[in-house]
Symmetry: C2
Subunit: 156 residues, 2 copies
Amino acid sequence: MVENQSQLEVAVETREYFKQCLTQRGLKSTQQRAIILETFLGVKEHLSTEELYLQIREDHPKIGYATVYRTLKLFAECGIAEERNFGDGQTRYEPAHAEDHHDHLICTTCGSIVEFEDSEIERLQGVIADHHGFKMESHRLDLYGICSTCQKKKKT
Amino acid sequence: MVENQSQLEVAVETREYFKQCLTQRGLKSTQQRAIILETFLGVKEHLSTEELYLQIREDHPKIGYATVYRTLKLFAECGIAEERNFGDGQTRYEPAHAEDHHDHLICTTCGSIVEFEDSEIERLQGVIADHHGFKMESHRLDLYGICSTCQKKKKT
DNA sequence: ATCTGTGCAAACCTTTTGCACGTCA
DNA sequence: TGACGTGCAAAAGGTTTGCACAGAT
């Protein structure tokens, strides 16, 4: 309940923020962009562009593939979405909530993705970047392995 | 000097190991595979498949694109190389020295890649995987930012 | 009215595959 | 000799782009 509430707030905020971004750049708010943003925010999994496109097409069959691609790129430029790439040859996007960064555990058997975060690792990353004279902007940490479900299945 | 020596040893070892892998799988040692392995081991940067292909072609113009792709895949299967992907749409391969794992700092301005390793982060990753019931197989950690050189250039 | 956005299809780019010929065991 | 490997070109898969029309400001 509390979670739904806060998710809703995030969505409202993001919509607002997106409009600002568009205006600032002299771009236009369109129905398609709104629909794509809505679907994107409403989906929890780490969908690939194609999967998101299929999802959108269920309710809005007229929206084209290219528009989804272009719009997701736009989200990324605005800082609303983050591009990800788990090595299966498809780009995935996920909502980027700047402060609340998270990393991923990816099951190499079933492909399921679990999020986690660890402040100590984050801190150490900053230390390393400093050490190399880098001004860190972002990072990604992916752990690949076999999830507990798949481990159990294997035993059988 | 010592470093060259040990690099040479690694190369010899790897060549040997690769032959074993091939035999075990009923595959053949060919001139092309030897050449590609040699070039691959001799190059320090994180080359993309195309860059490696171009490099190889300088001395061996007859080796085809597809062979390089196929061979790098084979290296990955044998555990000699690791596939990497820094989000520029090209797959990169790098020598995989199983124990001596390293991660990457990537400059978002000039694209240069610096390797590092941190045992404390490695340890914490293991803790997290355990915590989620994952049997960890591998991981990747990429830090994106601006390298010191590019920071200096920007100020000018 | 103007300038941006969209949908479609074609183009692009990286990677994979089919096939006839070459090569290793 | 016979299987596997190679080179070429074509296919495939994901993403981008050109263009004419539609829509937002």
